[in-house]
Each structure stands twice: as C-alpha cells, then as structure tokens.
Subunit: 403 residues, 2 copies
C-alpha cells in the first residue's frame, strides 16, 4: 500500500531538501564584493516619518563609471523590494545574485558606464549592507529585529540625499527605478526638485493601490504566521531554524504576481515534477517546483524582517500624503519624466502609469509614457530591456540638453 | 513612548478578536437546515481515480421545485471550491451563509423553481454534510483527517451520478456551475453524454492552468505551514486552537484572486482602518480588514483539510487526461454548451473559456460563448446574474427543444 501515490504525505523537506539560513542578510565580516559604505547619519538622531529614529545609518552602495568633473553625468538607480545595490555585475563573492539590471547598465548599454556615473544604494531597512532590521543596534549590541522602526520611501530618499552629499554630487541627471524603485524616483522629484534633471519611474505608481496593499499584506502574514519568526527575534536561532518557510511562501505569492498566466502556460503547462506522483495529494507540478525554487533562492539572500519593513514601506507610499494629494504634487513636477507600462502587468497595471503621466502633463509637466505589449507581467521592467533601453537613452539625452 | 504609532506590534487578536472554530465543518447532530442525505456507496469500496477508496459515501444535497412526471425538468447545479449545497435560500439554522446563487435560483428566476427541479449536492471531499476529511472514518470511529484519500472531479461526478439514480432521475436538462462547478459540468458531459441535455460551465476551464495551480499551491502552503494544522490531525484540538490562521490566510489569498484592482480602488482606496495607526508598521488599511473579515467568515463554515483536498482536486482537473487530450474530448461533445467569461477575471481569464468554446465548435459541437464586460473579476460568476440569467434561460429552452 505504501506505493500508492495517494499515500504521499506533506513533507517540506521534499520542497527544500537542505535547511536554509536563518537570515540571508549580509553582515559585516562577510565578503564585501563591490560594496562601498558611507555613514550618513549626520543628523543625530535620524528622525523617521513614522516617528521613530535611528542613531546610526550606514549605506551600502555600488558605483559604475566615472563622475565627470562638472558632475553632470551622475545617475541614481533605485532598486525594488528584494533588490539591492548590485544592479549590474555577476553572481560573485559578496553578491548572491546577478545584477538585476545588468542588461541596461554597462559600457554601451542604455545606462552607459562609459558616459555616466551610476550609483545604486541598498535601501534603508534593507539587508544587503545598509542599516536595517538585521543590523546591530548600537544601543543593545544586538540586531534591531522587530524594534527596527518603520521607514517610508521619503526616509529612504533622505538617506540617498545624504549619500549624494557624501559623494560630492550636486545633481542627478536622472533618478531611475522600477516598481519600488520608481516610488523612490517620484519622491526624489517631489522632495528635491532642484537636484534632479529627470525622473524615470517604470512600472510604478504614485500611491500604493489597495490591490498592491492586499498582496503585501498576505505576504507579510505568511512570514509572521511562521512560528519560527518568533515575533521578529530569530537571529540567534540555530542554523536552519529561522522563519524561512514563511519568507519562502511570501516570495512564492509575490513571484506569481510578478508573472503571468501566458508565461506559465508556455513554460510549465501541466507537467508534473515527478510524473509517478501526479495523482497524489502532495505530488507537485513543475510550476510548484519553480515557485519553491524562487522561495528558496530569496531565503538565501534576504531577511524576513527586512521584507516586512520594506513591504509595509511600499504600502505607505503615497506621494501626495500631507502634500495636498497626488495630482497636485505630480502636476508640479517640472523635469522630464519617463514612465512605462507592461501590458500584462497585473501588480502595477498600466492604468496606474497612464494616470501618473496624465496628472503630470495636466499640470503642465512633461511626461513621456510608453507601453510595451509583452507577456512578461510586472517582471517586464527587469526583462524588457530592448524596449526600455532606447526610452532611457532618449530621456537622458533630453535631460542633458534641458539641464 | 508607548503612544508612538510605530510601537504597535503584530498582534493577531487585533485581526481576529475572538477565537475561531477548529473546523467549520457541519457534523451529524448539527441543525440539518434544508439538507437531505443519501448514502450512495452502492459499490463497496467506492474506488477513486487516484487509487484510494472509501467504504461509505454519504451525500448531503438540497432540492428546489418539483420533479416533473416525465423527469424532463431536472437540473444539477454544481458548487465551487468553498460553496456547498446551499445554492439558494438564506443564512438560516444549519446554513452559515446565504445561498451562493440565490439571484439565479427561485420562482421566476433563470433557474425557475416553478418550472424546474433543481438539485445541488455538497461535493465529495467537502465539509457540509457530504463525506469528506472531517467525516468519521467507519474503520476508526474518528475523522479521516489526512487519511482521507485524494479525490478528483471525476470521482465527484460519479457520486453525483449515484445520487441521480437514488433520486430516480433519468436525465439532467442541464448541469450548471461556475469555476470548480464548471469543471464538474464538463466532466458530466464527457462521462455521461447520454444523461445530460446541456452543459453550462461558466468562468471555468477544461484543464487547470499552471497559474491556477500556482495560486492553489500557495493557499495550501498557508494551511500546512500553520503548526496548528498538526499534519491534518487537528479535530480534537481545544476550541480556538485549530489551523484557522492558515485557513484564513489561504482564503485571503484566494479572495484577492477573485476580485480586481478596480473593485478595490473604488471600494477601499487607501483608507486606513484605524486612522491614528496609519503610519505604524502593523496598522491596517481597510482592504486588510476586509480580507481578514473574509478569512474569518470562511473559517466559521469550512474545514482546512477539505480545502486541501478540493484545492488539489481542482489542480488535478484535466478533462483530457487519459482520454486523448482536451481538444478531442471537447470536440466530441454533442449537447448544447453555454460558457461565459468576465473580462476582468484574472483567475479564470477569458481566453480559457474562449478556447473551450473553440474546441467544442471545431469538433462540430454547439457552444455558445458570451463575455460580460465587468469589473467584478472571477466573482462575476456569482454577481453578474443580470448577464447570466438570460443566457441560462435561453440554453434551458434550447436543451428542452433539442432533447
């Protein structure tokens, strides 16, 4: 009877054959890779929009290219939720993933490192070198864990402003990013209009929608309902005993929202992972194995508490909050803006970027809006470089002339 | 300092103020409401497609209207994943929710109970009176729990065939259902072509797509990663100590996939649930409170193990399995078929019903296909009765004439 497929029981070790790290955060002492560091906490304390504060803020960042003597060629690239400073380059010591915009950043590419000086910083609250929940709290000598204060896009942008000063840069030729990166680009335009010559928020939104909040919320619940999350105090847990089932599930949910039914149909169909187990309750289809693979990959390089803080920071994103609303803020932008949509994006649907463009232009601004007809979904902002490259190049030329 | 909003910690009792049942399953001894019961396990054992078997199968069902002397007016209505036999009628003793198709079933409605005899049975593996994981296993005297064998749509339809015999019905004028209900309708047409005069699979699919499997898979993980699930042995747990956080999370995820960004924009926007907590990490937006409400509601009337079994049964749905593939099976249908799509349905997108219609018609069959332009998403099959009603009526007239 034990050979009968329906006797298969749920066994997480079939999904994740080896134990996963308690936290995938980078820590001092780990290989630094391409990272550079700047302590930017000039203000003491660094007061946050939600009311908390941090005594120390350190930013991990990477740069590509050379800053021109007149500082006219600096570009800030902003990463998305689970990205980090490693926007370009390979999987190499210190970096557990390939550069997320490697197709767009490099010699001769749209963000041409022969011409431009590119900066990408890990965000405040992140886990790849910048101060976040897994960093040591100087008051206690232990990781902040759940005491790490909630941050917002505005806080993140203020730390980037301090980094800019640290690097001696006067102006960004552009601030560029997709998804959460685009939220930062918009905040730059609103908070420091004199310091940016153009903005490129791609597949992003002016204020997180209730649908985006809904997805974030269930992903956070997947983490906090994992008993190994331990109310956020898991950093001392033995190897393999951290909240990785919860973090992996959060990633699996989000991974689905990043892709599309068309991509999955084409790539996986109804293929079982182990054909002989197809008709059993706990047999998996290939799509399930794909999701488990992505869950696992994220756990190796991310931190559950950072996911919670940054996911909530995205929900809190509202460029119009306490500023008279989204349309008046966007209508006041006076630098060239590029925004773009992927037709099949179910997470940041095209109507949101179209509305952004309309509000900017209605106020007398200059927003160029493009749509790529692509089955890639939200991940199109990472994958559709043949579409994005020329648009980015053109916007940079325009910014250079108008600036 | 305790008044600072960011000091709010994650506290599940804020989401669910009172403890929820270990299982929301109906059990013998509970008020029966409109339910009738039939023991249909004529074959002993009732052998299942996946290889397991059941010694006893009892079906809980409801009926509306009167069977005509010539039996020409019987219609089988099939419910979706978390539905049950209570397709029409109110929230009343024995029934913890309003009839899910109350707008379509009743005197003078499309499924006119003055003219037709309507039958709706809780599915095999369910938890509202039909044999499922929460039922007592006659071999042990305890609930089956995780030993309940995996079932498929074909098994469910075979039990419905036995119920049909029990009721003395020769032919269904139609088999009708949305989503998982539509899967059963299709299987009826394939398994018992001589016993049906028409089929109406609405917002459904011929074989579960990898995207549908992906959603089901993360919902199941939400349950099994709840330690209170206890590998499926939770029925003896003390009040309030069952896997309800997991089941609620599974429901919250699925609830998002049933609705749309447009509905959420309009209904919730970015309104906080407790305005003073808006900027805190664990403050909730109204959309989050709405999701918690739906999670809670399901826990009160559903069973976690039934969710696992039926969710997997949906993934296993493939009308073409071991029958030469979907298109040849659909192309062989020879009764009138109605299918319909909701434009904004992201879970059962329109291209799937269009493909179904195309395959039926390409084989020489007769499939009428309609699309409603509606923002309701997958729940449109429950909500768009003004659209569905006339289509259903027309198909019933056609079936009566052609039969």
């Amino acid at each position: 009877m034990t050979d009968r497929p329906e006797s298969l029981q749920y066994d997480p070790s079939r999904r994740f054959p080896s134990p996963l790290p308690v936290s995938g955060a980078w820590r001092h002492g780990d290989p630094v890779g391409r990272r550079q560091f700047a302590k930017v906490s000039r203000e003491r304390p660094f007061v946050l929009e939600c009311g908390g504060h941090l005594d120390e803020v350190e930013i991990a960042y990477e740069t590509w290219g050379t800053l021109a003597p007149d500082h006219s060629n600096a570009i800030l690239v902003c990463h998305a939720l689970t990205g980090d400073s490693h926007a370009a380059g390979g999987f190499e010591p210190g970096h557990k993933s390939d550069g997320w915009w490697d197709d767009l950043i490099g010699p001769g590419k749209a963000l041409d490192t022969d011409r431009y000086f590119i900066v990408c910083a890990n965000v405040l609250g992140g886990c790849q070198g910048t101060t976040g929940p897994s960093s040591v709290d100087p008051d206690t000598g232990k990781p902040y864990g759940p005491t790490f204060p909630q941050v917002t896009m505005r806080d993140i942008v203020r730390t980037q402003r301090l980094l800019m000063a640290e690097l001696g840069i006067d102006t960004w030729l552009s601030v560029v990013g997709g998804s959460m990166g685009g939220m930062q680009a918009l905040e730059w335009g609103v908070m420091y209009p004199g310091l940016v010559k153009s903005l490129m928020p791609i597949a992003s939104v002016a204020a997180a929608s209730p649908m985006q909040i809904a997805w974030s919320a269930v992903e956070r619940l997947a983490i906090v309902q994992d008993p190994k999350w331990r109310d956020g105090w898991y950093y001392d847990a033995p190897e393999g005993d951290g909240p990785w089932h919860g973090l992996a599930l959060a990633r699996e949910i989000s991974q689905i929202t990043y892709r599309t039914t068309h991509v999955f149909d084409e790539r996986f169909g109804r293929e079982p992972f182990v054909p002989s187990e197809e008709l059993s309750q706990w047999g998996r289809y290939q799509i399930e194995s794909y999701l488990d693979h992505h869950g696992q990959k994220l756990v190796r390089r991310f931190d559950a508490n950072s996911f919670l803080v940054l996911s909530k920071a995205m929900d809190l994103h509202d460029v119009g909050r306490h500023r008279g609303g989204v349309s008046s803020v966007l209508g006041a932008l006076r630098v060239p803006v590029l925004t773009a949509s992927v037709t099949s994006d179910i997470l940041y649907p095209a109507y949101q970027q179209a509305a952004m463009a309309e509000m900017i232009n209605a106020g007398g601004g200059d927003c160029d809006y493009h749509v790529v007809d692509s089955p890639q979904g939200h991940d199109g902002f990472l994958l559709e470089s043949a579409f994005l490259g020329p648009l980015i190049s053109r916007t940079l030329e325009k910014a250079a002339v108008e600036g």
